[in-house]
Amino acid sequence: MNLVIRKLIAKELYVNRWFVAGGTFSGAASVLIAMLGKTAFNIGALTWLTTIIATGVMLALYGIMNERKEHALQFVLSLPLSIAGYVRAKMFGLAASFLIMWSVSCAAALLLVFAHDGVPDGLAPYLVLLCVFMLANFAVVLCGALQALTEALTSAVIIVTNMGVSIFMFTVGPLPGISAHMWGPAPVWNSTFWTVLGCELAVLVIAFALPFFLAARRRDFV
């Protein structure tokens, strides 16, 4: 990875620092709220979920769409790098920004599950699946935003991926292999869990790799 790409990744972390800091704080605070009781748990869970999704969307919107809309993309493309280099820097820079917030929020939520008596440990596999789903979801948003040339298309990708979170909760939650152990005293890492996780990881890898083959080969970038 050359100097320009490394500097651009650092630039992403710098320009998105307030999103990352705000998202990380909100994600951790949501977990703390969730510890305060049953109603607080629901509020905290909702805020936690919203924080992770919203931070991902904001990073993609501000990091890619706004850079294009506000004509700062020309400044970046005037630097000594290729289109593929730009895509690489953008993917790694925004992914690093998201991962900081995501890893702290997810670690805090897992800590809550394992350390707090009011929350059953059996919830852990579902939580892990939800966390990885949101990471894959972010990768899809990022891939879509890099590939889409218009704001409307990017918005469509965001709407579809947001709907995906509800679809995930309504389809994965009721799966017998998941729902049967969700409220149990110990986590059960069964074949259902591994199958869903495998699907999520496949989506994650494809969504993260796709821009390197599609967006990076685009002939026109402004």
Binding site: L3, V4, K7, K11, Y14, V15, N66, E67, E70, H71, A72, Q74, F75, L77, S78, L79, P80, L81, S82, I83, G85, R219, D220, F221, V222
Partner: protein
């Protein structure tokens, strides 16, 4: 070996409603080329092609010896690009941008950057989002100039600037040319700016290059000839006449190749031969080519 700073050969780029066609350009070291055309003529597209931001559908582009867009990372190491449309990163200060450029370009000249900050009256601590258009252009120019690139590609850098800011920017560009290893390709629809700093000029209209020559040649060759013809007489067939306006017995001819031979051909009816400004030459040239193409 290709020692030209920029060469474009028969470049074509198709869009849905616009085609840049058969564009050929050459920029030598030490040269400052004004790239003039009306709005929508294809100036920005040409410069973006030169920067590798868009790829041509046909033709060949080389910048500092590197094929574009394939080797753009290597070429852009020594190219500064500023566009009136371009914005800096909105959430970062000018100082952050300067440090960013310093980290990327080992040639970054901190002393020169500090001089330009003062000359352009910029405040390094100011956030890019709060910069006016003029400040934005000046800050972008500072970032491009302080790394002392061999080639500067400037897309309408003086558009929207007040006269004082324009003067500052143009003076700085003239300073750049004191180093004869450096060159500038400078697009504008403001012929006054182009006339002031360019030594060669290329006119583009509706996606095609209509003329390209050095500035002095343009100014020497183009003339407006005012005649008064006696009643009943007519002009002989004249060469190199690109425009003709008749008002009764008064005729105004525009020529793109004036010579004393042409004056002699017209005869004693010539009342006045006027030099033309670059703007007049540009308009006459464009109109002539549009007529020739039946547009």
């Amino acid at each position: 070996m290709n020692d030209k700073h920029l060469s474009m050969h028969r470049v074509r780029k198709n869009y849905r409603f616009f085609t840049l066609d058969d564009v050929s350009l050459e920029l030598e070291p030490g040269q400052i080329m004004g790239f003039v055309g009306p709005n929508g003529a294809g100036k920005s597209t040409t410069l973006r092609l030169a920067m590798g931001m868009v790829a041509p559908d046909a033709g060949e582009i080389r910048v500092l010896g590197c094929a574009m867009p394939a080797d753009q990372a290597a070429a852009k190491r020594d190219v500064g690009f500023v566009s009136a449309e371009m914005r800096l990163l909105p959430h970062a200060t000018i100082e952050w941008h300067m440090n960013f450029m310093k980290a990327i370009y080992p040639e970054w000249d901190g002393g020169y950057a500090a001089t330009l900050v003062k000359r352009f009256n910029l405040r390094p601590e100011q956030n890019a989002r709060s910069l006016s258009l003029g400040e934005h252009v000046k800050a972008s120019l500072l970032l491009a100039l302080a790394r002392r690139p061999r080639l500067l590609i400037l897309d309408e850098p003086t558009t929207g600037l007040d006269p004082v800011a324009r003067h500052d920017v143009l003076s700085e560009l003239l300073d750049v040319l004191r180093d004869e290893r450096r060159s500038i390709l400078f697009s504008s629809h403001n012929t006054v700016d182009v006339e002031r700093i360019s030594d060669s000029i290329t006119f583009i209209d509706r996606g095609r290059i209509v003329d390209s020559n050095n500035k002095e040649d343009f100014l020497d060759r183009w003339r407006r000839i005012h005649l008064q013809l006696p009643p009943g007489s007519s002009l002989p067939e004249l060469p190199n006449i690109v425009g003709r306006v008749t008002d009764g017995q008064f005729v105004t001819l525009t020529t793109n190749r004036f010579s004393e031979g042409l004056r002699a051909l017209i005869g004693p009816h010539v009342r006045e031969v006027q030099r033309m400004t670059l703007e007049e030459i540009f308009v006459a040239n464009v109109m002539h080519h549009r007529e020739a193409r039946g547009q």
